[in-house]
Every structure is written in structure tokens, then in C-alpha cells.
Symmetry: C2
Subunit: 248 residues, 2 copies
């Protein structure tokens, strides 16, 4: 936990008593005491500091001062063929840590239909995985996650309303390497399931303006490919002045 992440309703008052998971982490891993200062931020909101005012056996009282504006929305969005639930769980945290704007999860020919019934796809589990990633990264901008049970419905009904400067589809055999956008526009990157998109899906994506790009000559697992794609498509930025407070 490299940032104390608060919900908007918790940040309504500057003084807050934490219990549960976050308090346990602060007490037993970070071993905070009165007077300690922590990075803190509100989901999609202000960022700043929390000062520990008092500690109980299962609770931590903090005073919050949010002085920095909300984080910018990351410029990369993903259209991801729904992976296995176990993979998705880890990937949600990784993508929240790395920074994606919106994660569109879609069906595809080679996606197992049963994955859509997984409990990982409930808003509670998605929200929890994403928040763990944000806390690890020291970030506050929560990715949006949208589930599309039909790829064609996404392409026909949702895609036209989305504002992306470029649409990319990752294909092992493509000639153009993926690279960060040269301007400040948003990118949407389509990543297929294990085994890849079928040819008809690629043809449809290309027809809708997705440019084939490659992540390199090697075939990566979904979770590795997603991390690599987001890292390579995100414009580089110099680091902030913060440091890890302790092991996540």
C-alpha cells in the first residue's frame, strides 16, 4: 500500500476513523503511530496527505489534507477479449496500477462463454481488484470497466461514440511496432484471447479502423501482452517526487 485510498464519501470530513482492511494494513504492515504522515487520495478525486492522529487496536484515526488536483485520466484504453477469471483478477490490479482509462471486456470466438458468469465480473470484485492496484501504484484514477457480451454489439453501438485518436489491434504478424502516440490523443488497443482473434474478427476490426500493430515477434500470454501494450502505448513521463512508503 503506497497510498491510502479513500472513497469520496469518506473524504467528506477531514477527520476519519479507519477500520477493516486498510486499518489492519496500516497497523500491522506499515506499523504507523500518531504523527506519521501518509500519502492519501480519493478515488477519482483530490490527492494529498493523511496524518495519523490516533491508533487503536483495530482502528486508525487520520486527518486528511487534499491539496493536489485529481489525476489525469490515463490515455490508453483497452478492448480485451475476456480472459480466464483467475487471469482477469490479477490483470485488473495490474492495469489499475499501470494506468488505463477504460477497460472494455468483450466476448470473442475463442472466449469461453462460461467466463461471463464468473463472480470476478461482479462490480464488488472488480472494484476491489482495481483498488488494490491503485493502492500499490500510489494512484487514484479508477479505470472504468465495461463488460460487452457481444463483440459486434460493442463495435456497432458503443465504438462509434468513443473518442479515440487511434485504434490499434495487436497481431503477432503485423509489421508496425506499437509505440506511444505522438500527440496527446487517446488510444484504444484491441487484444485477442488466448489463441488469438479469428480471421473474421481481425477483418472486422480492421474495417472499423483498427490498425494492426505488433508487440514484437514473440507470442505473449494475455496478461503479459496487456501490460506490455499499455506500457508501450503510454507516453513516457518523468517520475514524481514520491517514494514507496513500504512493501505493497
Amino acid at each position: 500500500m503506497n497510498l491510502l485510498l479513500l472513497e469520496p464519501e469518506e473524504a467528506a470530513n477531514p477527520r476519519l476513523r479507519l477500520t477493516g482492511r486498510r486499518a489492519a494494513h496500516l497497523l500491522r504492515v506499515l506499523k504507523v503511530g500518531a504523527g506519521d504522515r501518509l500519502r492519501a487520495g480519493v478515488v477519482n478525486g483530490g490527492r494529498g496527505e493523511a496524518v495519523v492522529v490516533a491508533v487503536g487496536s483495530d482502528s486508525v484515526e487520520v486527518e486528511i489534507a487534499l491539496t493536489a488536483p485529481p489525476e489525469a485520466v490515463p490515455v490508453v484504453d483497452l478492448l480485451l477479449a475476456l480472459p480466464r477469471p483467475k487471469v482477469l483478477r490479477r490483470l485488473l490490479a495490474d492495469l489499475a496500477a499501470l494506468g488505463v482509462g477504460t477497460l472494455h471486456l468483450t466476448n470473442a470466438w475463442r472466449v469461453e462463454r462460461s467466463y461471463f458468469n464468473s463472480p470476478v465480473l461482479t462490480p464488488e470484485v472488480i472494484g476491489r481488484c482495481l483498488r488494490l492496484g491503485l493502492e500499490q501504484a500510489g494512484a487514484t484514477r479508477l479505470p472504468k470497466v465495461v463488460v460487452h457480451p457481444r463483440l459486434m454489439a460493442f463495435l456497432d453501438e458503443t465504438l462509434p461514440a468513443l473518442d479515440h485518436r487511434r485504434r490499434l489491434v495487436a497481431q503477432p504478424g503485423a509489421a508496425t511496432p506499437i509505440a506511444a502516440a505522438a500527440d496527446t490523443g487517446r488510444s484504444l488497443i484491441a487484444l485477442g484471447p488466448e489463441g488469438g482473434w479469428i480471421e473474421r474478427e481481425v477483418a472486422t476490426l480492421v474495417q472499423r479502423g483498427f490498425e494492426p500493430i505488433t508487440l514484437g515477434s514473440r507470442i505473449l500470454r494475455t496478461e503479459t501482452a496487456a501490460v506490455v501494450a499499455v506500457a508501450l502505448a503510454t507516453p513516457p513521463v518523468g517520475g514524481g517526487s514520491h517514494r514507496p512508503t513500504a512493501a505493497g
Copy 2:
């Protein structure tokens, strides 16, 4: 499995009878039959094709034709503070898939000493994890893995003999973003443990010519940071003409 990976001694004859794990995968996942063609390659050796000649209930007989030269050694090496065994196991496969030349695993102040006694650090387990990564990626160049129980011994005795065009150390607060080398030289990237290098370690690394770079303003888990670092430091290449044969 996107490539049938063979050991050098197996490739001594063009005709080969496979049993065990690879045969089981070919039979039950890829469901091969006589006449099917597969990408094949030898660890650190030639690459080409295997033609299925016959299938048994637990065995597959193939004829191998290696026409392409060995893969180039990937240009990025890592100096990685030894992560938790469970993380290391996954990371070995990911790094083999993504492509690193040598992985130097080192002790550091914040590394738990007991990690060095993990069975994951045996040559057998390391070799198995790396091969799974290569098979997934369709690659044949096996990363070297070297374990250094003392960081200072590595820096004093091993490092001077290594030939790198640049040495980098990833630090969340650094001003320079990591980027692919502009020339064809090799890179060595140092990545700290969970919680980071301590200041004295960073100072020592900088003194030995490691330039501080950042992977971005977000603090990533070791396994994510390692994947991102290798992806960003590797010069982009257009893809080959191959395609996935089936889900790994």
C-alpha cells in the same frame, strides 16, 4: 505451446519420438495427427519445423527440419533483487517469453534471506519455468540465470567483466524515462525488491555507473515492473510471419 522446443541432444537425429509433457500437450490440447506441421526449434539452436509422422496413445513421432539459424540473444539483461519464490516462478516464464539475455538474481537489504533456500532456485525448476516461457512465446533463446547471494560481490567481481553499453537503475523518483537504447548495445537494468533499494544501495549502483531511470510515476509490483522495464528497453521490431498455433 506455440513452438515445439527440443533439447540439443534430441535434435541429433531428424526423426524423434516424443513422450511425456510435450507429447501429452500435442495430443490433448493441439490434437495433432499425422501430416500436421508445427513450428519447432532447439534450445539456443536452429529453428524450423516438425512434421508429425505418427501418433500413439502417449507418444508423438516427428521429423524435424531446422532451416533457420539460432535466434539472436536479447539485448536486455536484468539485475533483479530476488523476489518471493512464487513471484519468481511466474516471472521466469514471463521474462523468457519476453526475451532477456541474462537474469542476475541478487540479494539486497530488503530481500528476505530465506528466499535463497527456495526450491525454485534449483537449475531444474528454473530450466522448466524458462522453457514454458519459450514455448509460449515461440522462442528458443534460453535466458541465462545467475544467482548472486551478495550484491557487493556481484558489483565487485562480476560486473566489471560484463559488456553493457549502459547500466540503468529503476527508481520511482528519477527524472529520465526508460527508453530503448538508440544503438545496438546491450543494457543492464537493476530493479530493486518490494520496498525498493535502500539509499546506500542506490548510491553504490550510481557510483558503478548505473543511471537512474523511471518506469513512470506509478509504483509497480516487481513482476509488473520487470515486464515493463524489459518491454520499454527493448528496441521495437516488426513481427515475424508466424502465427499462434493454439492457446498456450
